[in-house]
């Protein structure tokens, strides 16, 4: 067996803090399901099915995100990251963050590990925040929004969201530099 894989599977390292709090949440949610099952078994069953549907939906996205992360880890070094997304990234950095946010697919939390990886490698916090906020523009859903609220509303909201993402990024960068 491959040494690295072997080392990973049998690693007896201390459980990371993030993983510990994960087990706490998982336990709390499991208890909630058990309690709610006695209160309303039908609805709880529906909730469980709903969760499985979500899992099915995000599984391919998780694969893509982790593939990107593996590529980032192996081929792009911190220097390149800080050049494109770091202190001196300028307009290009903002464009990458905003457009990347708009194009990124699926629920936001799926992207968090990759974003944290980028932060560790020197990406500015402001750009990460701009990415997360720009994610509220969902290109595939825009036609649906237009059908419900009209073209003007959709265009205005999208423009303000992009502006908002940019301003929030600037605020975060200012705060980051101060503390």
């Amino acid at each position: 067996m491959d040494y690295y894989l072997y080392a990973w599977i049998f690693s007896v390292k201390k459980i990371p803090k993030a993983q510990k709090s994960g087990y706490v949440i998982l336990t709390v949610v499991s208890i909630a399901y058990i309690v709610l099952f006695f209160v309303n078994s039908h609805k709880t069953y529906l909730a469980l099915m709903e969760s499985f549907d979500i899992l099915k939906m995000i599984a391919p996205i998780i694969l893509i995100v982790f593939f990107i992360m593996a590529m980032l880890n192996s081929s792009i070094d911190s220097k390149a990251i800080s050049k494109h997304l770091g202190e001196d990234s300028g307009i290009k950095g903002w464009m990458i963050a905003l457009i990347g946010g708009i194009l990124s697919h699926g629920p936001g939390y799926v992207w968090y590990p990759m974003l944290q990886e980028l932060r560790n490698k020197g990406a500015k916090d402001g750009l990460v925040v701009a990415f997360i906020y720009a994610r509220s523009i969902k290109l595939p859903w825009l036609p649906v929004m237009i059908s419900y609220f009209g073209v003007y509303f959709t265009i205005l909201l999208s423009i303000y969201v992009i502006l908002g993402a940019f301003i929030q990024g600037i605020i975060i960068n200012k705060l980051q530099n101060r503390f």
């Binding site: 993983q19 994960g22 709610l36 529906l46 593996a70 590990p113 859903w141 509303f153």
Partner: protein
């Protein structure tokens, strides 16, 4: 190069292993919220005044979960039933930008300071953007 990629894949798997329990927990929580919090429950909180509805819209959008188009459908129903456009805009905006359910995950990945500041900014901007969007829309209608 191949060794590097292998190393990187292992470290990525390590990350996946670290966040897996949290991810499963959050997905379970999302399922519960989707099933137990109904649009009728949310609607009863609005009262038609712009300021009140913006705050309620931000809060209810923050605790609701689901695909973005669900917020459009619920928001469309709210509009029909007399909730102010300010409140509806705040609802659909905070539906996608705020996630009370995923806070523990965000917290454990990004750390307390980043999560706190980001979410406070999101709340402020949900209020600001919903107000300015509805206000500007008035000029086009």
């Amino acid at each position: 190069m191949i060794l590097k990629l292998k190393k990187a894949s292992i470290s990525t798997l390590q990350t996946l292993k670290t966040i897996a329990p949290m991810l499963f927990g959050i997905i379970g929580l999302v399922g519960l919220f989707k099933t137990f919090i109904t649009p009728e429950m949310l609607h009863s909180l609005f009262n038609g005044s712009a300021f009140h509805d913006i705050l309620v819209g931000t809060a209810t959008g923050g605790v609701s979960v689901g695909q973005p188009f669900i917020s459009y459908i619920i928001g469309g129903e709210f509009l029909k039933e007399g909730v102010s456009p300010y409140g509806v805009t705040a609802f659909i905006l905070s539906f996608v930008t705020l996630g009370v359910v995923q806070l523990p995950l965000e917290f454990s990945i990004f750390g307390a300071r980043f999560t706190l500041i980001r979410n406070i900014l999101s709340i402020i901007f949900a209020i600001l953007i919903s107000w300015i969007t509805t206000y500007t829309l008035g000029f086009f209608q």
